[in-house]
Symmetry: none
Subunit: 272 residues, 4 copies
Amino acid sequence: KKQTAFSLSERLGLDEFLSLNVWRAALGELLGTAVLVFMFDTIVISTLETDVKMPNLILSILLAIIIAILLLAVDPVSGGHINPIVSFSAGLIGLISMSRAIIYIIAQCAGGVLGALALKAVVSSNIERTFSLAGCTLTVIAPGPEGPVTKGLEAAQAFWLEAFCSFVFLFASIWILFDHRQRNSIGMIRVFSIIGIVLGLLVFVSTTVTATKGYAGAGMNPARCFGAAVVRGGHLWEGHWIFWAGPAVACLAFYVYTLIIPDDHFHAEGYK
Amino acid sequence: KKQTAFSLSERLGLDEFLSLNVWRAALGELLGTAVLVFMFDTIVISTLETDVKMPNLILSILLAIIIAILLLAVDPVSGGHINPIVSFSAGLIGLISMSRAIIYIIAQCAGGVLGALALKAVVSSNIERTFSLAGCTLTVIAPGPEGPVTKGLEAAQAFWLEAFCSFVFLFASIWILFDHRQRNSIGMIRVFSIIGIVLGLLVFVSTTVTATKGYAGAGMNPARCFGAAVVRGGHLWEGHWIFWAGPAVACLAFYVYTLIIPDDHFHAEGYK
Amino acid sequence: KKQTAFSLSERLGLDEFLSLNVWRAALGELLGTAVLVFMFDTIVISTLETDVKMPNLILSILLAIIIAILLLAVDPVSGGHINPIVSFSAGLIGLISMSRAIIYIIAQCAGGVLGALALKAVVSSNIERTFSLAGCTLTVIAPGPEGPVTKGLEAAQAFWLEAFCSFVFLFASIWILFDHRQRNSIGMIRVFSIIGIVLGLLVFVSTTVTATKGYAGAGMNPARCFGAAVVRGGHLWEGHWIFWAGPAVACLAFYVYTLIIPDDHFHAEGYK
Amino acid sequence: KKQTAFSLSERLGLDEFLSLNVWRAALGELLGTAVLVFMFDTIVISTLETDVKMPNLILSILLAIIIAILLLAVDPVSGGHINPIVSFSAGLIGLISMSRAIIYIIAQCAGGVLGALALKAVVSSNIERTFSLAGCTLTVIAPGPEGPVTKGLEAAQAFWLEAFCSFVFLFASIWILFDHRQRNSIGMIRVFSIIGIVLGLLVFVSTTVTATKGYAGAGMNPARCFGAAVVRGGHLWEGHWIFWAGPAVACLAFYVYTLIIPDDHFHAEGYK
């Protein structure tokens, strides 16, 4: 087994809590997540505000671009996570120590709060109320003919959607980031573009498949949801555990998957 | 510390004021900024004129293309700045001497004026009045049911938006231009495309999130704002300091960030 | 000075008038320009005919593609000019001899006439009358409530627009074609795509900024204007000198710019 | 002269009629053309059916993508023709023997019939009648106020349009496929994309410029026209010779052009 090559203490890496370089790298994660949250949420608001035919298509394309660029910016500083899902599964698989993963996740949550604060500073109060700072919610309070109506997903539906989307995210894109052979042969920019495109597609699919207007898609980033919830509060805390538990289940499932698949890449002969 | 390797006199580089090559390179900056201002402002006017669903999306895409191409054109001549923010932070970080940065900024301001003059020469006077030569304004005078109404942002909101957008611009794109390791591995065209895309996205986001019709987005280029203000004058001078102070704060924050993050790029092992 | 390395006779290259290879290459220019004029003008007509929101945006995108592909096709035969502006500035800068530039320009004009003839053969007579074979005009005769109305630009406004757009065309795109260092590092396809995009953007900008419906944008290609004027005649000859004089001024300005800027490319150190 | 290096018997290559490999390759051409005709015609019908502003623009974009993908698929089997125009000019220029060209053209015609049959099997009889299986026609029977009206092009106009478009197709895109130096330096995917884009543009241009509603654009592929005519019959046979004679003239003109242009690629020095 590949992971047993590392001792338990190496896997935990408690000494990294005292390493200045880890905390410096965490600053990159913090700022990266702050910018991500600010841009992500303003894009969600901007496109849902506008009266276009397919707002979620435009939304998804812009998200894909933003994520690709920010991963590129943070990559040399910290390895390019800006998402607790990525840091947690990187820790599980043994790519980074668990201590570093925890430090990164703390920094990402702080960044999420910072981004949500920056958004609150520039957004008009009317938009803030309507969109709840584009936080992660299951229910949306929409104006109905007989007063505001609460529409949304049930907790179970939301949990599985969150877990499933997070697993697809890890399975279809993050594996390239973790597999240095693929990463080198494909090239940094394309890898980050693929990650961005996969996340954009998942947001596009999750917004339309549920057929629930106002639901802004699967969260797939607990730090983003945490930031908006801290700054805006209120109903954003309802069901907030789903945005942590869903991705956590996905990370564990992805870890089991990496243990099962063969170590060597499969190469067919190809016709000559 | 990396920057202390240079002596103070090297950092200031006062002798560059006497170097003909620096002034020649500044000509590239001047013309580049002039073309940028002319194209940028005509695109702003063209798209806001047209009756489309999402003028600011088209606006942002075209701006991204324009900026990428102009940076490519000016890069071999002067290093591809055409923006006082880039020159100032390049000077702070020690990429170029402070003297060269100042010469570039002067050239960029002159270019901004030139571009605004070229625009004034071809634009019809009616459009010039409506759009104020697409200059950087906080307030827009819009026709209301009871005479013209002044709509806009408050100074504090605009200042933070300007500072935050400029920081995101530096954090998410300009760092690649300054980090020669990334620049070489990514390739010139892609670097400039990323810079263009980031600026386009920031304009898109800043125009919609403030929910103020007519506000053409964060300036993020003091030279562009300066050119329009000189040629058009009037209310464009109100709050003009914001378009200089905001980016200046962002440059200083970015400088502090580059001092804190680890010098070496982070490289995970990759799972084997 | 770089150009004085060549003797005057080399710069003139009168012997090239007797070289069969130059005339063979000119055939490529002739056919390339003919196809360009045919495609360009049919696209102008097709998009202005159709009832869409932003005809000039679609027009500009299609033009960008057409120009990039045709430059690619003609490049190995003659160097890929198909535009008197490119040939004239290539001759001025010393990339090709002045004789070759003149032969190319003659071939381009012949090609322009051929393309306009081919267009006349397939276009319906009604469309021919409405759009004047999509020739370069300052004035457009539009149906008004009280008989046809002549709308358009004044000669001075049109001249500066023509000169400015031609200069931007040279400054922002053609310099890559002329600078073999950039050309090699960027790659043939991207260079021609950039040229196409810049021309498309200039047409987009020049059509809207003047706020004159029906005006098809700056010519930026005297051979195209010449072809339509010869075949269609009539009011296309009015102000035809502008489509030659404007670009000529731009070529001279670009030549002066290339003399002033430093010979060596600027390379910053990059922050370490 | 380059072609005289081959003997006449080599150019004819009559022994290839007995080569199993040529017939195997022809199977690739047959299937490729069948899929092309089926996809092409369903796209034509789908877009003309739909109530959009610019059906021919969407049509052209989809055609460009389809053609690029099919050429990519057939290329390793047979060289990627799926069009008698390409096979005939490849035979003329000496890229393949004339025998192979004839075998390919026969296979392409059989493929055209197969594709038209497949389309007839799935399409509703009402649509089949309205669109004539999207075959190549000069005249369209449209419902008028006083019974069905026959609208269309005159034979001479259609012949020149067919010949001119086929020549542009060869001149602007197919030359890259034939010139192995360009093909290698540009890359397979880009070459096929360019061919697809050029064909899409020509269809776009030829549909609108003739100002005849229902005319589906220049054929530019005799095998496609042949298939629809065999399966549907009737008025599709009127003027069917034009879709063979027009391209044939274009192929001969292109052959003459390749004989005249210089053998060596033109390389300018670049300004230093």
